[in-house]
Symmetry: C2
Amino acid sequence: MDAPSEHYESNYKHMKRPLVTIDANEAAAYIAHHVNEVIAIYPITPASPMGEWSDAWAMAGKKNIWGTVPEVIELQSEAGAAGTVHGALQSGALSTSFTASQGLLLMMPNLYKIAGELTPTVIHVSARTVAGHALSIFGDHSDVMAMRMTGMAMLCSNSVQEAMDLAMISHAATLESRIPFIHFFDGFRTSHEEQKIEQITLDDMRAMIDDDHVIAHRSRAMTPDNPFIRGTAQNPDVFFQSKEASNEFYNACPGIVQQTMDRFAELTGRAYKLFDYHGPDDAERIVVLMGSGAETVHETVDKLNAAGEKVGLIKVRLYRPFDMKAFMHTIPDSAHSLSVLDRTKEPGSAGEPLYQDILTAFQENRVEGFRKFDAEPRVIAGRYGLSSKEFTPPMVKAILDELKEIKPKNHFTVGINDDVTHTSLVYFDGTRSITNGNEKPAGKVAVSGSDKENPSNLTRNEGVFQGLFYGLGADGTVSANKNSIKIIGENTDFYAQGYFVYDSKKSGSMTTSHLRFGPDQIRSAYLIDEADFIACHQFRFVERMDILRYAREGATFLINAFYGADDLWENLPGKVQKQIIDKKIRLFGIDGYKVAKESGMGNRINTVMQVCFFAISEILPKEKAVEAIKDAIKKTYGQKGEAILKSNFAAVDNAVEHLYEVKVPTEVTSKKAMLNPIIGEAPEFVND
Amino acid sequence: MDAPSEHYESNYKHMKRPLVTIDANEAAAYIAHHVNEVIAIYPITPASPMGEWSDAWAMAGKKNIWGTVPEVIELQSEAGAAGTVHGALQSGALSTSFTASQGLLLMMPNLYKIAGELTPTVIHVSARTVAGHALSIFGDHSDVMAMRMTGMAMLCSNSVQEAMDLAMISHAATLESRIPFIHFFDGFRTSHEEQKIEQITLDDMRAMIDDDHVIAHRSRAMTPDNPFIRGTAQNPDVFFQSKEASNEFYNACPGIVQQTMDRFAELTGRAYKLFDYHGPDDAERIVVLMGSGAETVHETVDKLNAAGEKVGLIKVRLYRPFDMKAFMHTIPDSAHSLSVLDRTKEPGSAGEPLYQDILTAFQENRVEGFRKFDAEPRVIAGRYGLSSKEFTPPMVKAILDELKEIKPKNHFTVGINDDVTHTSLVYFDGTRSITNGNEKPAGKVAVSGSDKENPSNLTRNEGVFQGLFYGLGADGTVSANKNSIKIIGENTDFYAQGYFVYDSKKSGSMTTSHLRFGPDQIRSAYLIDEADFIACHQFRFVERMDILRYAREGATFLINAFYGADDLWENLPGKVQKQIIDKKIRLFGIDGYKVAKESGMGNRINTVMQVCFFAISEILPKEKAVEAIKDAIKKTYGQKGEAILKSNFAAVDNAVEHLYEVKVPTEVTSKKAMLNPIIGEAPEFVND
């Protein structure tokens, strides 16, 4: 590991506020809880934690910035939650809710009403796939896009830090503009990604929320003391003109959001625009998108530009009201082509929504002349990342390469292999050797455009520690890793990222933790495919699955085995031995179950394996790590009595003692073959 | 009245089928009932009658084309109805439902599922405003447009005949394409408009519905005999590619719909296209829209072209899947500008949905070259008719005139006066003297473009009888008029149209019946503003409201008065006397309440007034009319006993006897002033 860089240190210089390692659900809920009075909740994956946080905080007496504890109410469904918000707002209270997917659909009738009545609120959404041919709990923009006609403003956060920042900005802007907001971020990829971020303080919130607007909201409350007609039934004589009467509010909204962003930038140093361009002034090819994918594109264009390309991206932040003029001014003069990416698919449409909005902006620019181009850029559309489908730097490169084509593919997909209607772009994933969804020999794939750089380098981030941890569902691996991120986040100057894949479809219900640490902001919104460290918390995984597939050369491998230093090697399958030798992997072992049992921990190996990780990786000095783990144990189990604390402390000490390194032989000796991961008979499709 | 024209007779020559006078709800329900097995209903205005018809028909044992009576089930909400349809479809049954507005929103989660699983069904929608700043029971496309991302196909009917025809086509096309359909028509304006139409026969239905597709649907049923996995939960590994796997079905759908339309045309002679162009080959200015407004535009461009203009319209029928290529080929070569009209408003959007789709089609045409233009037409957008706001020929003319401007107004509104954000087009409504929503002196208004024709002529249809009937809510006026349309429809060769305005916002709860009869198809999807005949069924209306405002010169006025031939004139307000003299109106009176009472009808005046209408208008020979009314009475009251029949028959005969004409004096003599229609004190806004 490199030491923290100069650049990194300067990054943190202005940060006077607490640094916390949390996910986007907690970040958004943190703001929402502090600037509301009535919080109506109903659980739905992946938004449930926002409601759970608020509920827990309210129970603990956590007050909002005005000194009252928000009332948190769980309703019978999201329809009831939205109705409660609507009612609370009409009574002059500040109110919010959290939801996703079908939950958001159930809120829709109320959202039309809340927006129609120009009532300030923010609904925070962990954007999730709407169930169609299949249900999916994972993330894309199909739910929020289905709300784009309700009159709600829509503001998108691309990362955990942004989820806190733009939650703040949306709550401030809704009060000033009277347009209610949907503030959203990608389900799981952002909602459940742990990042070390700077926390907005209560004083910041007080600086951002203008009490005059709160008082104005209260003064619009329906009360017998201030009688007013609202929510009537209207006939053809007046409905249309009444509806048009809201135009001025929508026209003013983007300006208010930008001003709010500017005030926020003064306060925190983090500057946002309605549309944020990132890239050089002379970029020719531009990607336009919103959500976590924008972070991956950001990272990728930086690398491609460093390698001599001229590429950029536009991050769409305020999607509704859509400010065509602001968008047009965001495009650099040098742009000759744009690829607009939608993380949703609307079957039968002329095009996905963001694409159509941007075409409209170009069309109206031709007439209105918001800005001039020497030659108007071409615009093509693509779909990516449906239901949390991976979206990686090689895919970004494929998109940017496609823009070099004389006639680029329009309405492409990327990340899958559509071998029926042939919409997919070919992409080159060096490590995984996957192209266009099919396995092919690495390096033998025709990639359109220039290919001087080895595309596999795109997923390497110098100076970033990348660790993969394979555990069994409920064996404590994920909790231990979340804990490890917090320890690293709080005890070092590193940026930290943790993402946890709960894979319910393979044998053994495996969980995979993806941990990154490094000196610079981590924008890799995709799974790790080149790991510095791999931990396998269950020996049987190594017998059935290709655990070392993503190990980089010289990586470290830690395995929980029923063996000692002398017999571990022999008990590894031959294929694994070969990988260890070929990739020059350092091999560490521990009999985690034995250590746990002997420490009085039963079969709970999580603390043991966590200690081993810190002992090997040396991200922290060993003593500091041990101390930090013990502190964490005190926090977690302190109330459960001395005996439990004692066992955990013993496990920590015993783990350090029993961890061993195996001197790796130079030849494969094992006769053990890999076992079939599928138990029983299964069709070919399943076996593959 | 002119006699039926040659043209008219030729229109009917090929019509071998029964002619029925019904509204679009009945027309759509008639098809739906005959080609389904499970009909799940929940009432919502203006779609409720569809469910009521099916329920009544099922109770009466009316069978579908396969000889079984559909099971009609009323659920607890539209969410339950959609769930029932979804479940029935999965069991292999043919299933349908009817809804509108918030009801459709509640169906949304199931629509995503039904479409995602490629399950054939049709949801018939009487399109209605979604409640926002206010609730409205009236019509626009905000509800169906909110479904455009669900994957449902969307087919729009513009008239009652089309509601029957396209209901048929959608049921046939869904079975072949496996894409479920939303078949919609304008709430109230079409759903509740009575028209004389040709009825599809059961043999037609059998010819249109291919049993092979029904069998294929049944074979996809979920049953233990044929186990199959569907409706699973999918993870990021496979969801995206599975979703793209439906592309071929969506790509094929427009072709299937067109073929289905072609088969329908062979059968019935009524030909439809995905996009129907109407106008001359050399039209320069084109309106694009869907729904009842297209009928008004159709009528208006015919008149404008007859007066030397070069204008046309494109009727959008299949809105989803949106066939860009088919649309581009529909535009005449001569077109230099298009105005795309949306009957919805999506606040904060870059543009309304149809507009954005058409911009997308133009953009992709530039790249794909579906077709070439010497000069690509300009495209502007407008909103009209929200919540059943009137959309009239003068507004159509204003839109077409705007297209002559060097820089036409984009995102305009028409039909209101937006004096805040100034989006409205100025239009000239000669009769009403209303421009841009404000009262102004007729003829003194600057109308853009050529103005040689008196625009007031646009709402005149030569040879068409236009009658206005003012009644009191529940006094039987509307029922009598619906009955009159049926009598005229069934006893003459006239086309007939009836539209009924239930005005709940003015004193006395007035109902206004708008009846048109004539030799040609009636496309006037707007209220009558030049009446040949006006009936006032309540004397107090004439004292309070400007009942004769819409009387044309030489019109006939029938009033139910407590006066006789000698004292009626004196009891009319001076203003009304002046109108009668100035407009050369023939004046008829009857003491309807007296005649009704003496005939044993209590205070039910509907039969009396209906007889007077037939006696004066002579649409039918008086004897034939009397006979038809008596037949209708037998049908309606036959089961209620001899006494009721006798009273009604007496009322018919007495009405003819007591009807009198007043010889209109040449001078105003009455001192009576108009009374204030507002009872009690009210603000200026209400009084106006």
